[in-house]
Amino acid sequence: MFDLEKAIATWRHQFIYNRLFDNRDVDELERHVRDHVEFLIGRGSSEEDAFRHTINELGEYSETESEYRKVFWSKLRYQNHITEEVFWNLSMLKNYLKVTVRTLARNRTYSIINIAGLAVGIACCLLTFLIVRHEMSYDRYHERADDIYRLNVNWQSPEFVFENAITSAPFAPAFEEAFPAIEAITRITASGEKVLLRNGDTRLYTDNNRFVYADPSIFEVFSLGFEGADSATALAAPYTMVLTRSMAKNIFGDQSPMGQTVRVDDTYDYEVTGLIDDVPDNSHMHFDILVSMASFNGGSGPTNQNWDNNPYFTYLLLPQHYDHTLLEAQFPDFLERNIEEDNREWMSILLQPLTEIHLNPKGNDLEPSGSETYVTILWIIALAILTIACFNFVNLATARSMTRSKEISMRKVVGAARSQIRVQFLTESVLISFLATVIGSMLTIAVLPVVESMLNITITPGEIGGGLGVVILSLVSGAMILGIVAGLYPAFIMARMSPLRLVKGPGKSSSRGSPNSLRSVLVVFQFAVSVILIIATIVVFRQINYMTSTDLGLNTSQVIAIPLRSESTRASAPVMKDELVRLGSVQHAAVALRKPGTGAWGSEYSLPEWDDNDRVSMKFNSIGYDYLETLEIDLLSGRFFSEDFPSDVESGVLINLEAVTEFGWQTTDEAIGKEIKRGGLFRTVLGVTNNYHFQSMSVEMQPMVMYLAPETSNYLLIKTADGRTQEAVSELVPIWNRLNPEWPISYSFLDRDYEALYEKEARFSQMFSALTLLALFIACMGLFGLASFSLESRTNELGIRKALGATGGNIALLLTTDIARLILIANFIAWPIAYYGANQWLQNYPFRTDIEYWIFGMAGIGAVLIALASTGWQAWQASRTNPVDSLRRE
C-alpha cells in the first residue's frame, strides 16, 4: 500500500546530508512536491501516480544537485557563510589527511611499495635532471658565453662527411680583416703530449693537452679570471705564460709567481705574466698553462700563410644578440677569395655556439665529450622508471578500491559528493607523492657522490639554477603534479561508482575498460619497458665487450709505453732498449711516432701511374725496428724493415691490408716492390701487415703507411716477458733515470690506454645496468603488491577450490598463470622495439656485435622468472592455506 508521507520522507532524505542543500532549500523542494501532488490528485490521479509524476518532472537527483551546485558559492556569499565553508573544507582536508595516514599505517606493504617505488622513480628523475643540467652547463660560466662561437671546417663529399673542430692559422687574421662585426677572435692549440716544467728543484709534468698556446686576445673572448698587469699584453711577447692558480701553487708554492721564469721541456724559459682561475669541470677544454702563440713553432709563431696546416681551434666573439647566420652567409665568398679552388671543393666553414660544443663534439676535439643521444636516452629511461612507479600507484589504488569500497560507500550514503571523494583520493595520492619526494630527494643527495664518481663529473649547486627557494618550490609543485597525475584515475573511478556497486565490490568485473583490464595494460607496459631495458643492457654490455676483447690485430697486453719528450730521451732510446732486452724481463722494444690507440696523422698518397688529381687519404706512422714483434702484428707479405738494408730509411715503407685494397691491388704479394707516391717523393712497398686497430673501434679501419724513422719517435714501446711486468717496471726506472737524469719517467700500460678509449661506453653501460635494475625492482614491487591484493580478494575462491580437491600446485599455477601471460605479452611488445633501438645504436660503430636471438629469449625468460619470483611466495603461501581458515571468514 502506497504511503505518500513515507514516500515524501524517503525522497527528502537523499538531500539532507548534501551540503549543497540547506534545510530551507529542501523545505522549498518538498513544498513544491506537495503542491504538485495535491494539484494532480485534485485532477483525479491516485496518490502514487501523482507522486511519481511529480518526482519525474522535478528531475533526477544528480541533475538537481548539479543545478544547485552552480549557485552554491553565490548563496554562501549572499548568506555571508564563505568563511564557515572554507573552515569546513579545511576540516574535511584534515579528515582526509587523518584517514590517509591511518590507511597508510594499516596497509604497510601497500604504503612501502608505493612510497618506495615513487621515491626511487623521483630520485632517478632528479639525478637525471642534475646530470642533464651539468651536461648543459658546459662553458656557460663565461660572461658572454652566448656570443662566443667556434669556427669549424666541414669536409663533405658524396662519400663522406667530416666535421672538423680545427682550422688553419690564417683564418683568424683573415676573418678579422674580412668581417668587422667580429668583436674579438682568438686561436688556441694544445701541446698534445705532457710537458716538463722546471723551476729550481721543482720538476713536474703537465697532463696531456694542458699546455696551450693562445693568442693575446684570449682574455677578450673568454672569462678566465685574469690577474696580472695587463691582460691585453700578457701573452703578446714570445715565451710568456699565464698559469692557473693551482699550477702556480704546484710550481712556486707560496711564492708570488709574477715575473718568475719556468723552464719548459728543458729548452725554453718562459716568464709568468699573469694568473687565471682553474678551469671549471664543466668546460669543453681544460688547461693549466696558457703560453703566447708567438712561442709556437720554436718561437716563430703560427704559420699565418699556410691554409693547409690545421692545428688551431679558432673562437669568435660576436656582438650581443648578433645573428651568427648573417656572418655564415658570407663564408662562401670568403672561401672563394682565400682558398684555392681544388682545396675548397668539398670544404665549408660553419660557426658552432660555444655552449653546444660539449654535447655536439666534432672531429679532433681535445677532450672526450658528452653526447646528446646519451642524455636523451637517460631522460627517456628516468621518465620510464617514474611512469612505472606511477603505474604501481594507479594499479594498487584501483586494486585496493574493493577493500575500501565500504568506506567510500558509507561516505557516499551519508552525502559525500563525487568531488569530495575525488578530493579525498587526490589528497591521499598527493600526500604519498610528497612523502616520496622527500625520501627521493634524500636518496638523491645520498647517491649523488656515487653517480658523480661513476660518471667522473662534479655537479655544483650553481649548475642547478635558481636558489634553494626555487629548488624547494619546484620539488613541491613537482610532487603536487605527480600526486594529481597518479591519483586522478583512481579518484575518478572511485567517485564514479554507485554505493551499491562499491558494496558489491568494483574489482570483480573484468570487462573492457574496467580497472582490472587497465591494471593488466599497465603491468604489460611496466614489463615491456623492463624487457626493453634488459635487452638494451645486454646489447651495450656485449658491444663494449666486443670492442675490448676482439682481436685488435695487435697485442696490447704486457706492453709499456714511455713517452720520449726530447732529443736527449730519443737518443737514449736505443741504449735503453738494448739494456732492457738483455735483462730478460723484457722480450722486445721498439720506438714509434704515435702510440697505438691514439690514432695517426693523415696524408694523401697515389701511385706513379695515377693522374695527378687521383689521391687517396691514408694514415701514417714512423716506427722503429722490432715494432711488429713488440706489438705482435702479423706480416702478410714481404719483409719488415731491417738494419741489413740501410736504404729502408730513405726509400722503404710498409703498408697494411686496407692500404692494399685502397691502391687496388688484388693480393698482398702484388703490392711488394711497388712504388707509392706522397708529394713528389716515391717509396717502395717492402711488406704488408695485417690490419690492426691503431685507434678506437668506434672508427672504421683505415689504410696505414709505416715509415722507418726511429729518430722522430715520440714513444718507446716495451713488451715484457710473461708474468714479469712488475719486475720489468722496477728494472727500467733506474735505467731511465741514469740515462735521462733531467727527465722524470712517466709511462702507461697499453692495454689500459685502450680500455680508456671506451670509457664513455663503459659509463653508459654502468648507468644503463643500474637503471634497468631499478626499473625491474619497481615493477616487481608493484607486481608483489598486486599479487597480495589479488590473493586477498580470492581467499574464498581458493578455499572452495581446495575444499573441492585442488592441490597446492594447482593453486600456485592458477595464481601465477595470469602474471606469466601478461609478461609474455609484454615480451612480444618489447622485442621489436628493443631490436630497433639496439640496431640504431649499433649503427654508430663500424665494428659491432650481432644482436642474437638468445638475447631476446634470455630477457623474456628473465622477466618471467623475476615476476614469478616476486609473486611466487604469495602463491606458495596461498597453496598451503587450510581451506577451513579461508572459508571461516564467510
Binding site: D35, G59, E67, Y68, K75
Partner: protein
C-alpha cells in the same frame, strides 16, 4: 514542444515577467508558465529554484515565507525595484529580437537591405 535550449535562454525573462503581477511560489510559477505556453513548455523543475535563488542573490527578487496548513511553509518570490528595471531591459531586448525575426520572416528584410546598400 519548445526545445530545452530555448527554454534555458528564456527562463530568466519568463520568471521576471511572471513575478511582475505579484508574488508567486515555485509551483505557481511552473503552473502559470505551462498554462501560458499551452503545455508546450517542458522544463525541468530542477532549474527553476536555483535560478530563483540566483535572482534573489542578485537583488532582483526578494523571498518571504508564509505558513501552510500541512507540510513545510511556502516560499514566495516578488520583484524588487531592481527586478522591475531588469524586466524592462529584458523586454526591450526580446522585443528587438522579435522585431528582427519579424523582418526576416515577413519578407521585408530584403528590401531594407537593398535600400541600405543603395544609400551607401
Amino acid at each position: 514542444m519548445l526545445s530545452k535550449r530555448l527554454i534555458s535562454a528564456a527562463l530568466r525573462p519568463l520568471i521576471l515577467s511572471l513575478l511582475a503581477d505579484g508574488p508567486k511560489y515555485g509551483f505557481q510559477i511552473t503552473y502559470s508558465a505551462k498554462i501560458l505556453a499551452d503545455n508546450q513548455v517542458n522544463w525541468s523543475n530542477s532549474k527553476l529554484y536555483p535560478l530563483l535563488h540566483k535572482l534573489e542573490h542578485e537583488g532582483l527578487v526578494e523571498a518571504f515565507w508564509r505558513p501552510s496548513k500541512s507540510g513545510p511553509d511556502r516560499k514566495y518570490y516578488r520583484l524588487t525595484s531592481d527586478g522591475f528595471g531588469a524586466l524592462e531591459t529584458e523586454k526591450s531586448e526580446w522585443r528587438e529580437v522579435q522585431r528582427i525575426f519579424s523582418l526576416l520572416w515577413d519578407g521585408s528584410a530584403d528590401s531594407i537591405l537593398v535600400d541600405h546598400l543603395a544609400k551607401s
